[in-house]
């Protein structure tokens, strides 16, 4: 009896030790993740401090900028915003009708719905560099030069599957009862989807758009061959355009330390933009959960 009690005790102790050990491993991994993120942010901020002046965001590159002389990267900031906002608009124009059609006009299991979702999944997997290659080939076919328009189209392609997926998930969350209530009042499918479903899903809609915008803002590989680069602020769809990721990339390759420091400062600016978008996304995400109909 006594020895049996003792062996149960021992087993119990072993199980508790295993539990404690596992918890320690979990904690260690989570702390490692937190440390990695803080190291990334701290490194960027710390390295960017020497070059982080107001002129960086207020001026375009002056003469001799790439040799370390005066100027800023206003061209890339404005360019990045132009490209990503335009791209998000294009992606939205395609994604929104697609997702509405998928969710209100097609049956969940219909062949067409399956094929559309499959192609969106395929598009989701395509790396942005391949979109860049595709955009470049498209550009040649349309006799376009590397320009704001070409960059916008290419980034829109990168954003399309991300946006569609996010939109699809939000719109699917709209309760069926709400739609049925609208139908019962005599609303047709178009009225129901635009005035009831979209309004209910509005916070999610904004969140999805912001996620896509953030992706567009940070994507460098797809604009490498399609957007070109310029030291001036782009004012036309057919001019080449500078983007922040490429500004960072090019300045980092410079042999001059002053220019490299500016790459760090540019990175801090880009990170800040992404951070703002991320915070806005969280804000609207919280709003979304508050209005949940149960």
């Amino acid at each position: 009896m006594g020895s049996r009690q003792k062996s149960t005790d021992r087993r119990l102790r072993r199980r508790h030790r295993a539990e404690a050990g596992f918890k320690l491993i979990l904690l260690a991994s989570i702390i490692l993740v937190a440390i990695i993120l803080s190291i990334i942010l701290v490194t960027i901020l710390w390295k960017s401090l020497p070059a982080l002046k107001l002129s960086m965001i207020l001026q375009t590159p002056g003469t001799g900028y790439y040799l370390g002389k005066k100027g800023g990267i206003l061209n890339a900031i404005v360019g990045s915003l132009e490209v990503s906002l335009g791209a998000t608009l294009i992606a939205l124009v395609i994604a929104l009708p697609t997702v509405i059609y998928l969710n209100t006009y097609l049956k969940r299991k219909s062949f067409l719905a399956e094929v559309i979702r499959l192609s969106l999944d395929v598009l989701w997997g395509i790396p942005s560099i391949v979109y860049g290659v595709f955009g470049f080939l498209l550009m040649l076919m349309l006799h376009l030069r590397a320009s704001l328009l070409a960059g916008m189209i290419t980034i829109a392609l990168v954003e399309l599957p991300i946006l569609s997926r996010a939109l699809d998930e939000t719109i699917r969350l709209v309760p069926a009862e709400l739609k049925e209530a609208s139908y019962a009042l005599g609303g047709n499918r178009w009225q129901t989807s635009t005035r009831v479903v979209l309004r209910q899903a509005l916070p999610g809609l904004i969140t999805s758009i912001l996620i896509a915008l953030g992706r567009g803002l940070g994507d460098g590989a797809s604009v490498l061959f399609t957007a070109g680069y310029t030291d001036r602020i782009t004012t036309s769809l057919f001019q080449p355009v500078a983007t922040l990721p490429l500004a960072i990339f090019f300045q980092l390759n410079s042999p001059f330390p002053e220019v490299q420091e500016r790459a760090f400062a540019s990175a801090a600016i880009l990170t800040l933009l992404i951070l703002i978008i991320s915070l806005l996304t969280r804000y609207f995400g919280r709003k979304l959960s508050r209005h949940k109909v149960r």
Partner: protein, 292 residues
């Protein structure tokens, strides 16, 4: 009524765009890669290690191997850490901690590739070149597969964590509670119930992360060295397919077959990524439907 039909038609036409787009990307890349296949057979191009465009030799093998090496390294580093993090978030973390952790992971997911690349140059390159390589008794400039693998691992971590958390959280709470009521420790619940139920889902999450790693461009090319030789160790430089494209595409030289060779590289990359990405995605979709 007529108006309604018109709007339906327009929405329907828009929804065909993703299908057209997916097909046209494959078709356009394949047709543009085709000219090279009339010069040489596919296996010779894929498995030859000689990349000398001036001499008309377009062996893609070093690039394919480089891609695989870097991706596998990142995968091995990222998968365990991501799964543990996901388990912590789904089964251990308190509500308040979760509120902090999830945004942190999301921010990590949102940071652009070029930022990770810069971080790699600033920290990981010296770390590997000055400390890790001598530790293993070899020399490395720091611009090598291991560095790229570390940077890439951090980049795919959020993807794996986010999808895994979704999969793990889908395990019914009553199952876990029943086990806890029978006296199981939390670890036992995770091992015998949560992981048993969600192992394929977690695997799919990892494969999805893997497929992201294959195509990652800027961050990798900034730290991997870009030398078109067959890699021999973790400390040797490599030249993955995306970096090949990023460095050489767009400035087309007038070498016969060169353009087609680069397009073929894009096709190879596309297929490598899509196979993994689609398999994982389709499985996860099925899982999602079962939960609904």
């Amino acid at each position: 009524m007529k108006k309604e039909k018109g709007k339906e038609l327009v929405a329907g036409l828009f929804s065909l765009l993703p299908i057209i787009l997916a097909i046209s990307i494959f078709l356009l890349l394949l047709t543009k890669a085709f000219p090279l296949l009339s010069l040489k057979s596919l296996p010779t191009i894929l498995f030859s290690s000689a990349w000398q465009p001036q001499k008309g030799q377009f062996g893609l093998w070093p690039f394919i191997l480089g891609t695989i090496w870097v991706t596998i390294t990142a995968f091995i580093l990222a998968a365990p850490l991501s799964i543990l993090t996901a388990i912590y978030i789904s089964d251990y973390a308190s509500g308040r901690l979760k509120k902090w952790l999830v945004p942190v992971i999301d921010l990590l997911a949102g940071l652009p590739s070029v930022i990770y690349g810069m971080w790699g140059i600033l920290l990981i390159v010296p770390l590997v070149g000055k400390y890790l390589a001598p530790l293993f008794g070899t020399y490395s400039s720091g611009y090598c597969i291991l560095t790229a693998g570390i940077v890439l691992a951090v980049m795919i971590l959020p993807t794996i964590v986010n999808v895994s958390v979704e999969v793990l959280s889908a395990v019914p709470a009553d199952l876990k509670e029943a086990a806890l009521a029978l006296g199981a420790t939390r670890l036992e619940v995770v091992r015998f119930i949560v992981l048993k139920k969600s192992r394929p889902g977690v695997a799919a999450a990892c494969v999805l992360g893997l497929s992201r790693a294959f195509g990652e461009t800027l961050a990798v090319m900034m730290v991997v060295g870009n030398v078109p030789l067959t890699p021999t160790s973790l400390f040797s430089p490599a030249y993955p397919l995306p970096a090949l494209l990023a460095n050489n595409y767009g400035e087309m030289l007038s070498i016969p077959g060169y353009e087609a060779a680069l397009n073929l590289a894009a096709v190879v990359l596309l297929f490598m990524v899509i196979i993994f990405s689609l398999a994982a995605r389709l499985y996860l979709n099925k899982l999602e439907q079962r939960i609904d």
